[in-house]
């Protein structure tokens, strides 16, 4: 007979024993180890995920801080730029003002120098003209320029209206000249003035070199002058115009 029932029973028991033993030593242990490892991996994965989240958070925080610092940097840079611009403009303005002031000062100094120069020029020119005229007249007409000047002054004085003359004379009348008057010239002036103005006491004469070739009469707040400055002033004017026209011409190279 192919089947032995005792063997069948024994094999059933053997199988059940094997089932229990393999359950204990194989399946349960392997399953437990697999579950444990799966849990470990899951824990690691969770931990990694958590760390990733933390890292992400840190990164975002860092990016925010960086952005904040960048914004602050930009704001400060902008402010510094603005301040630098303002400072630059202020310095430029100061420099410009200073330059303008210096230019103005220089122009004033130039004007003063020019005025001084022309003043000296006038005096010297007048003196030269007077000397030249004096020499020319003495050589050609056998007369002195001073005499002609006094004569001219007297003729003009005689032509004066009553309104031009002083009415009340409280201080001593004065005749100033740029050259020394001779006694006869002083007398003739005294005489001419006395004829025009009554109750006139003695006239004071003095020499003022700056008048050069001029004669000035001062009495009772009135003043009458004749001098060669008008001619010299015309000359000065012409020289001035010549200088200015030369200054304004474009420079040719």
């Amino acid at each position: 007979m192919l089947i032995d029932w005792f063997t069948v029973g024994a094999q059933v028991i053997n199988f059940l024993i094997l089932l229990v033993l393999l359950k204990i030593f194989l399946f349960d242990r392997i399953k437990q180890a697999m579950d444990q490892r799966e849990n470990n991996i899951k824990e690691r994965f969770d931990k990694a995920k958590e760390q990733e989240a933390k890292a992400k958070e840190s990164r975002e925080s860092f990016e925010k801080k960086t952005q904040s610092l960048q914004d602050e940097w930009d704001a400060r840079l902008k402010e510094a730029d603005k301040e630098a611009k303002e400072r630059r403009e202020s310095l430029i303005k100061e420099a410009r003002d200073e330059a303008d002031g210096l230019k103005k000062k220089w122009q004033n100094a130039l004007e003063q120098e020019k005025a001084s120069f022309f003043d000296r020029f006038k005096k010297q020119a007048a003196r030269l003209i007077f000397d030249t005229v004096e020499k020319t007249l003495s050589h050609l007409a056998d007369t002195r320029a001073q005499d002609q000047a006094v004569k001219k002054f007297l003729s003009r004085f005689e032509e004066l209206d009553k309104d031009d003359l002083p009415r009340k004379i409280e201080t001593q009348p004065r005749v100033s000249t740029g050259f020394e008057l001779s006694e006869s010239q002083q007398k003739s002036i005294q005489k001419a003035v006395s004829q025009k103005i009554a109750d006139l006491e003695n006239i004071a004469f003095d020499v003022r070199p700056e008048l050069v070739f001029g004669i000035t009469f001062t009495a009772g707040g009135k003043k009458m002058t004749w001098h060669a400055h008008d001619y010299v002033s015309a000359l000065e004017k012409q020289i001035n115009q010549a200088i200015e026209s030369k200054d304004h011409e474009p420079q040719k190279q």
């Binding site: 192919l2 089947i3 024994a10 094999q11 059933v12 199988f15 089932l19 030593f25």
Partner: protein, 242 residues
């Protein structure tokens, strides 16, 4: 060293000790050998299991084996594998080990004995109602035998018995015939050809182990799922009546 001659069909016939009906035959001895190998091997591998990422190659092999069995169970039963893994796994591992050890000279597979395959089939035959009752209860399990009508009861019982018989005979026939063919060919053509057939026998043995385990799982799954179908039908009927 050979314990059997060509005339002996089953290792049951090689008896070492007998006292009344108690016999110690080659089937039981080699069963113990296989059991000892499996248990000692399992103990050796699983005594120091690693729960870290790096594991030993033996642990890796066992994990592949166990997870493969679990996957198959889940795929067939559409249920959680944990409950059925020890039973189905032991069936597969025992049969596979019995069949694969045929490469050892002098070894006779216990599955070449109808007593062993019958014992395993009886275990399946008993486990099917046990799993069914454990899962759905006694009443629900027994109700499946009278489904769809009460007249199907004898046919269902016959079906249970015949499939158990088929389970036992299929495994016995395949393994016994394989070993006999190799033995006969070894006598006729002693070179090369028996080696090829031996290798083929290993493949057949492994396939038979897989078939036995899968069929056992199918029977268990049908025992737990048939009840669900009948419950669904009953519920549908109730809904229609309402």
């Amino acid at each position: 060293m050979n314990f059997m001659d060509i005339k002996q069909i089953s290792p049951d016939q090689v008896v070492f000790f007998q006292y009344h009906f108690i016999t110690l035959n080659l089937t039981i001895v080699f069963t113990w050998v296989v059991m000892a190998l499996l248990v000692i091997g399992s103990w050796l591998v699983t005594r120091r299991l690693s729960t870290e990422q790096k594991i030993s190659s033996w642990q890796n092999i066992l994990e592949i084996l166990v997870s493969g069995i679990q996957d198959q169970i889940s795929e067939i039963s559409r249920q959680k594998a944990k409950r059925y893994t020890p039973f189905i796994g032991t069936l597969f591992v025992f049969i596979a080990a019995c069949n694969l050890l045929t490469v050892v000279p002098g070894y006779e597979s216990p599955t070449a004995s109808l007593s062993t395959t019958a014992a395993l089939a009886i275990c399946v035959f008993i486990s099917v109602p046990l799993f069914g009752i454990a899962k759905k209860g006694l009443g629900s399990y027994l109700k499946q035998y009278i489904q769809p009508t009460v007249f199907m009861l004898p046919f269902n019982i016959m079906g249970e018995l015949s499939r158990t018989l088929a389970l036992a005979v299929r495994l016995f026939g395949n393994i016994m015939s394989g070993s006999k063919i190799v033995a006969i060919l070894l006598a006729i053509i002693p070179f090369v050809f028996p080696v090829i057939l031996q290798l083929l026998g290993l493949l057949t043995g492994l396939i038979q182990a897989y078939i036995f385990a899968v069929l056992a799982m199918v029977y268990i799954a049908s025992a737990t799922q048939v009840q669900e179908h009948s419950d669904t039908k009953t519920d549908t009927k109730k809904d229609n009546n309402q």
